[in-house]
Symmetry: C2
Subunit: 318 residues, 2 copies
């Protein structure tokens, strides 16, 4: 026990940990993205929390309410803000716990900040005060049909709902998702979109491609030398580029770089990019293990590159 405690790298009271927010709608892929970061950093120096535990009402109480769990009034967002500030200051919190299996609010748990704190959920970037706690902010923005498929699979397999219940809930949530969850997208340093490439006919089992909006709100690694300074999607040879960086405008007109990583990128090319990103950090050892794992036997290079890019920002901020 003493040994274990000694190995844990606490942020220490008053020492500011490095904090990352991963926001997105229900089943947008937050847990999958987070898992690889925790694995790569190691649980000794990294703790992750889900702020969906700050539900104000349990499942039974929510039935009688005129809004869904996606409404700010359905959550203790003031307490969430308070706890984010405490963690950002290196202080422990007694975090509420919502049991997704039973729909009950249960015994809270002590969370002590480590060197890195990952905060995922529906609302981590809801307010300015909450956003001010983070070094990096990420928004997961998959196409709605993809997200609905993920939610249907997860909620029926792991949370005990019937397909009809999930579809009805998705429907009920549409307005509030647009009003309260989606606006966080515009506050993210990185917007991640996993999706199939339109107009391509990849074989079944091809991982989804990643489109990463890299906003100039934080200093991203300069990938132009690795990926080429050409913004086109094809090499001179006529072959499709599997990864490319493109300068453009966001939907609101703001300048933004977009990194495309296609689902069919060969492992070797993906590794070359990962090594190049890793080399920009003054870190010992090779690119960490644990990146790109989607499921028990499923790997995705676009996911691995996304996670490594976020890892770059965490280690860079530390």
């Amino acid at each position: 026990m003493a040994d274990k405690a000694a190995r844990i790298v606490r942020a220490g009271a008053g020492t500011r940990p490095v904090m990352i927010a991963i926001a997105g709608d229900s089943a947008a892929g937050k847990t999958t993205l987070t898992r690889g970061l925790v694995e790569a950093l190691g649980p000794e120096r990294c703790v992750s929390i889900c702020v969906d535990d700050y539900h104000r009402y349990d499942r039974t109480e929510r039935r009688g309410l005129p809004f869904t769990a996606l409404h700010p009034d359905c959550n203790h967002l003031d307490i969430m803000e308070q706890h984010l500030q405490l963690l950002a200051g290196g202080q422990p919190i007694l975090k509420p716990v919502y049991d997704h299996g039973t729909g009950e609010l249960t015994r809270p748990e002590l969370v002590e900040p480590r060197r890195f704190v990952i905060v995922e959920g529906l609302f981590p970037m809801h307010s300015k005060l909450a956003r001010a706690c983070f070094d990096v902010t990420v928004y997961l923005d998959p196409p709605e049909d993809i997200r609905k498929g993920w939610k249907l699979a997860r909620d029926t397999e792991k949370r005990g709902y019937s397909p009809a219940q999930v579809l009805a809930e998705l429907d009920r949530r549409t307005t509030e998702s647009a009003a309260y969850v989606h606006p966080q997208r515009s506050h993210a340093d990185v917007v991640v979109r996993f999706a199939p490439i339109p107009a391509r006919d990849d074989p079944p089992g091809t991982p989804l491609s990643a489109e990463l909006l890299l906003r100039p709100t934080i200093r991203h690694p300069d990938l132009r030398d690795v990926l080429g300074r050409d913004a086109t999607c094809r090499e001179a040879s006529g072959r499709d580029r599997t990864m490319h960086l493109k300068l453009g405008r966001d939907t609101d007109g703001r300048p933004v770089d977009t990194l495309h990583v296609h689902g069919y990128v060969p492992v070797e090319e993906s590794r070359t990019l990962q090594k190049a990103i890793w080399a920009l950090l003054d870190q010992p050892g090779a690119v960490p293990d644990g990146l790109g794992t989607v499921g028990a036997a499923v790997r995705s290079e676009p996911l691995a590159i996304t996670q490594l890019l976020l890892l770059f920002h965490l280690l860079d901020a530390a």
Copy 2:
């Protein structure tokens, strides 16, 4: 709902509420003392919390531990300190909840500070940081045999223990009570001791007398004009004084005033003193109702005077 919210006098974010700590061992009378204060102030401008809810382990987990619930390591005292500081700053907290009936830690509850915050429990004055949150600190210090009787009655009637279990637990706790709970006595502005008067043979049903140590750490009301400047226990007529103030030394040698209120004090004399204390405050109306209630049909003038004195300090600090 809107009406009710309007009537509640919140301390308001950033506005410091007036805070009182009522510490003491298990079954020392904290809840009885607190109840009258809440009743007198009114729940619109007063909230009370019990910090015994900050148990780190539930009843089942405690069975395997080498210490009892009276050990600091058995409680989230760092989180308690954090929450006291937040309340003192006018911020809400999500307070853990320990169910004394089942021995389980359950769903936490939102506590928003009002104008007055009463904090009772085993450890509210455990650390300097915790004590700094309070305007007034009180320690309940009944004789051990009285307290054990109270604990036996309450834990068998309300908490589902057998008499043998309560006695065994009292025994197990003796060392830790002396080591961790009792030291708070020396930090209290007011030490309250309800006890029978030695060497008197009052009829059964006579309320316990109160002995109040009034330490010069806060400004107490000057009661000399009301009670007489004579420190003796008898009037010139030879009759026993039912209330008297005595200058003396505390067990550690520090100068202290002691107010004695005998259990057999007539209601009229008690009311005269209460009116005199109330008159020192610039408050509208008469002495509030709700003071001195021990049980459904049991009143105690010594308790009423104790509560009014604490009420004086709360209103004076506001």
